[in-house]
């Protein structure tokens, strides 16, 4: 559930080093799921058969039919069309969190590991202090202050999860920096920036990508939760987290499909990202 | 049954070990045979990939999962591979092993005292206080005088040299009859190495302990072992009494290895390097002498079949030209 735990698990996963990597069915399936989700996020509105915001009150919680494959939601809107539209915000938020976190986290980690000494101490303690904020809590706080919507929670999660990313990357960057080829380049007189850009970061790339993939999955979970709580994407906009919330009453009333369908979309995409992240991580480890 | 056939404490007979590598079984040891008599020290020498460590692991039943072993290993007349229950337990207490990297081989979260006495307490039921005092006494015999304090420390608080002594003392605590020493001095400084070797040599004589000493250093093996076994590409290529190893080697590889080392006593303009690199058993060409591609004495006959070990002057050599080359190999030594 939490990014913190997920990323930490990634770090602890070093314990499972050395397994050989093959293009397994798991990678093909999770990769396809991610590609499909991305296509829907980009082209969802073109694929959607109906207007996602048009309520037909008489049809509320009306079951599936050949025309409406997933039936209608609590307000009588076409569930399939809302899912297709909702992919966009559901994917865009995590993407923004991932990009910001990885950029900031890599930058801080590499700077701290490269310069060492006082600067490293400052960056590391700064990150340690940021650890005080659980992501969801900071997101709720941000939504309370700046108002509900996607922007405040995305910023809050980026800040809250940067220390987790940076801590793991800093450890890896320190290990890489201790490699003798780095010392050899320093002795040659290559500039620090050049060594970082041309050698250090490329050698950390497998870890950065693996972390980004895992982070995306968990950011998606947290942002969906924020939207579910009514502090993220606002109804009537379609979003998977919002859809679970809107149709929650259906669970008890005997119409679980609309809420479940949105929930399943989230789970499938997140599982795909997590499995891919795990495999990328293992591949990086095997290559070491 | 007669316990120790021909006076052998440990007997390896045609031991072949295969390991699963990328889905197929690859040989890492081929037809390894030798014996160790009670109280005898055997040196096992080879470069990387020669299979020397794998030999010790096979003897101690510490091979990685999936390993297939052919041939026979007998300790005190009993087949080691089929030992179980109380017999296995006794075997474990009679055969002790020490390793190159004590830091990896000692549990980092337990105290030295716990590590040293665990086997004694668990398997022999020796009370803690007695086990500890025995540990302290043994630490003293390996040159550690403040044993009581050391027992309370954690491994990370000790230097590599100290830790290696702790490991040796621990190995001797159960009064073994055979010590398997896998490169125990490789990671140590030269002066520490000399001390540890002296300790091993002393203890071995005092305790009438048999030893298999694995090293990549011909001189170290010759210095503290009665006989030396030289391995190349998973095979034994020579067995020779240590005193004659340098003066009268029987296999071109042994001679080349000795000649390749820079000499501390005289300046040589150029070393007699062996071309190519050491091969492991599964890289070596089949159906010819494994050393032939690098051997300065190789002839066509060497490439026609794997030579067998032949007895020569009290030693063994896996070289078809061994007899013919005697004396000429020695020349290589002083270049």
């Amino acid at each position: 559930m939490s990014v913190a735990a997920g990323l930490a698990a990634g770090a602890v996963r070093r314990y499972r080093a050395g397994r050989r990597f093959r293009t397994s069915p798991a990678i093909v399936v999770s990769g396809s799921v991610i590609v499909a989700a991305t296509v829907v996020a980009v082209a969802g509105p073109l694929l959607a058969p109906y207007n996602p915001d048009l309520p037909q009150l008489s049809q509320y919680f009306f079951g599936p039919s050949p025309e409406h494959l997933l039936g209608f939601d609590a307000s009588g809107r076409d569930v399939m069309s809302r899912l297709l539209y909702g992919a966009r915000t559901s994917m865009l938020g995590p993407l923004a969190v991932t990009l910001m976190c990885m950029t900031l986290g890599s930058l801080l980690a590499v700077t701290a590991a490269w310069r060492g000494g006082a600067l490293d101490a400052v960056i590391s303690s700064g990150l340690d202090i940021l650890f005080a904020f659980p992501g969801i809590l900071l997101a709720v706080l941000a939504a309370a202050v700046f108002g509900a919507g996607l922007v405040a929670p995305v910023l809050a999660l980026s800040v809250a999860y940067t220390p987790y990313v940076a801590r793991v990357l800093r450890g890896a960057a320190l290990r890489e920096r201790a490699q003798l080829y780095v010392a050899a380049l320093e002795v040659q007189g290559a500039s620090g920036v050049a060594i970082c850009l041309r050698h250090l970061i490329p050698n950390l790339l497998h870890l950065i990508v693996a972390q980004a993939t895992t982070l995306f999955g968990y950011a998606m979970v947290d942002l969906a939760a924020i939207s579910f709580l009514g502090l993220g994407v606002q109804p009537p906009n379609a979003d998977w987290g919002v859809m679970v919330s809107e149709n929650q009453q259906g669970i008890i009333q005997g119409f679980p499909l609309p809420a479940l369908a949105a929930g399943i979309c989230i789970v499938v995409v997140v599982v795909a990202f997590n499995i891919l992240g795990e495999r990328l991580y293992e591949r990086g480890e095997a290559r070491q | 049954m007669n316990a120790e056939i021909g006076g052998a404490l440990l007997e390896l007979d045609g031991v072949t070990v295969r390991l699963p590598v990328e889905g197929s079984m690859r040989a890492v040891l081929q037809e390894v045979s030798f014996v160790i008599r009670p109280g005898e020290a055997i040196g096992l020498v080879g470069e990387s990939g020669s299979g020397k460590s794998m030999t010790a692991r096979a003897i101690d039943r510490l091979l990685p999962p999936g390993a297939a072993v052919n041939g026979r290993i007998r300790f005190g007349g009993r087949d080691v591979m089929t030992l179980a229950g109380a017999d296995l337990k006794r075997f474990r207490s009679e055969v002790a092993m020490i390793f190159q990297d004590p830091r990896a081989h000692i549990n980092p979260v337990r105290r030295i005292g716990d590590y040293m006495t665990e086997a004694l307490r668990t398997n022999a039921g020796v009370p803690v206080s007695e086990a500890s005092s025995r540990a302290v006494a043994l630490l003293k015999s390996v040159g550690i005088d403040d044993g009581e304090r050391r027992l309370r420390q954690y491994p990370h608080e000790l230097s590599g040299g100290l830790l290696q002594r702790v490991m040796i003392a621990t190995a001797l605590l159960t009064k073994p009859r055979l010590l398997l020493a896998d490169e125990p001095t490789t990671a140590l400084d030269v002066t520490t190495q000399a001390e540890v070797l002296a300790i091993l040599d002393d203890l071995r004589t005092d305790l009438h302990l048999a030893m298999l000493f694995i090293t990549h250093n011909l001189e170290v093996a010759a210095a503290i072992c009665d006989r030396t076994v030289v391995m190349y590409a998973g095979q034994i290529v020579e067995v020779r009494s240590s005193s004659r190893l340098h003066t009268d080697p029987l296999h071109p590889y042994t001679a080349a290895l000795a000649a390749a080392r820079p000499n501390i006593e005289a300046t040589t303009p150029r070393l007699l390097a062996i071309p190519g690199r050491p091969l492991s058993a599964f890289e070596a060409p089949a159906g010819e002498c494994a050393f032939a591609p690098r051997c300065p004495h190789a002839l066509d006959v060497c490439r026609q079949a794997r030579p067998a070990l032949i007895a020569l002057d009290g030693g063994l050599s896996r070289c078809v030209r061994a007899e013919e080359l005697r004396g000429r190999l020695e020349v290589a030594l002083h270049g």
């Binding site: 080093a17 809420a259 997140v270 | 954690y154």
Partner: protein
């Protein structure tokens, strides 16, 4: 050695809390409009309420002085007044804290007991159990708590009717019964993560060279597992359990909302929606403190378990 570690960690704890409280306090100044507008959530309030706000926040004083007043009040248990409920925030929190604490505790027990046992079992027994554990945990590790919650309600409350789907319950047993589904919903993904990490930690420790040494010395298998494999694997297992348990403190809000539990999290969300900033500040401060304390506890536990740790931070 350990004392120095604990002292250093406590100093860091103090700094973290100070910074966190500062961030939480400054939130009202970051909000659009003036602080009063932020605190009142844009509502028009009776003059006496406005007065209380001004007094409470010392809005006529410099910023840092205001912060100082707010903090010392908070430390003394005075967290101000809820704008919507016109009640003391401390009292409101006090009446809800036991639900959240119970929920988090229940879920933590599930995670540690079930997650670690499952991980140990599949770590030592390769085969069908291990494979199915791997597959199931791969999916459940990615399960958002609110999705887990609606599935649990659907199956165990609506279909099987074993557990209630809403409310807190009365009396201890009834409360436990009411908390069971929420606790599972909260625990499920962390449980899976803990199980997976436990499994790989055990596999990894079992392969260590010192375990080989112990085998070669004839240490019986049961003792080998207990004293060398499990003991050493306890270090990463503690770390991951601590991180997941700490994260529950915030995630509990989601579960409380789904199950209609009157806990702190649900109240926090409700206050955030109604822009009742005094409440948001109070609860945030409390949750952050709990979160940081659990993390400190994990670090201390880690140092106790691993004699190699003297100063410095977690497993890097």
């Amino acid at each position: 050695m350990h004392l120095r570690f604990v002292l250093r960690r406590l100093a860091m704890l103090a700094v973290s809390l100070l910074v966190a409280s500062f961030v939480i306090f400054s939130a009202i100044f970051l909000a659009p409009g003036n602080p009063i507008a932020a605190l009142s959530g844009g509502r028009s309030l009776p003059p006496e309420s406005l007065r209380t706000l001004e007094v409470r926040y010392h809005l006529d004083q410099p910023f840092l002085v205001q912060y100082w007043y707010w903090l010392s009040n908070a430390v003394h248990g005075n967290l101000g007044l809820s704008i919507t409920l016109r009640e003391n925030v401390s009292d409101l929190i006090a009446s809800r804290i036991s639900t959240t604490a119970g929920l988090v505790l229940y879920a933590s027990i599930l995670i540690i007991v079930l997650g670690v046992s499952l991980g140990i079992l599949s770590g030592f027994r390769p085969g069908l159990l291990d494979t199915s554990t791997l597959v199931v945990t791969a999916v459940s590790a990615s399960l958002p708590a609110f999705v887990a919650a609606i599935v649990l309600i659907l199956v165990f409350a609506v279909q099987l009717q074993w557990f209630p789907s809403l409310g807190n319950g009365i009396g201890f047993l009834d409360q436990v019964r009411h908390l069971t589904l929420p606790a599972f919903a909260l625990a499920v993904s962390s449980l899976a993560i803990v199980a997976r990490v436990t499994r790989s930690a055990i596999r990894e420790e079992a392969r260590r060279e010192h375990v080989q040494t112990a085998i070669s010395r004839g240490i019986p298998t049961a003792q080998l597992i207990r004293r060398h494999v499990l003991r050493n694997a306890a270090i990463p297992i503690t770390t991951i359990s601590g991180i997941t348990v700490a994260s529950l403190i915030a995630v509990a809000a989601v579960v409380e909302v789904v199950f209609g539990l009157a806990g702190l999290g649900a109240y926090l969300v409700q206050s955030a929606q109604s822009k009742d900033l005094a409440v948001v500040q109070g609860i945030s401060l409390l949750l952050v403190t709990a979160f940081v304390l659990v993390n400190v506890l994990v670090d201390v536990l880690y140092a106790v378990l691993d004699p190699r740790v003297s100063l410095g931070s977690r497993a890097q």
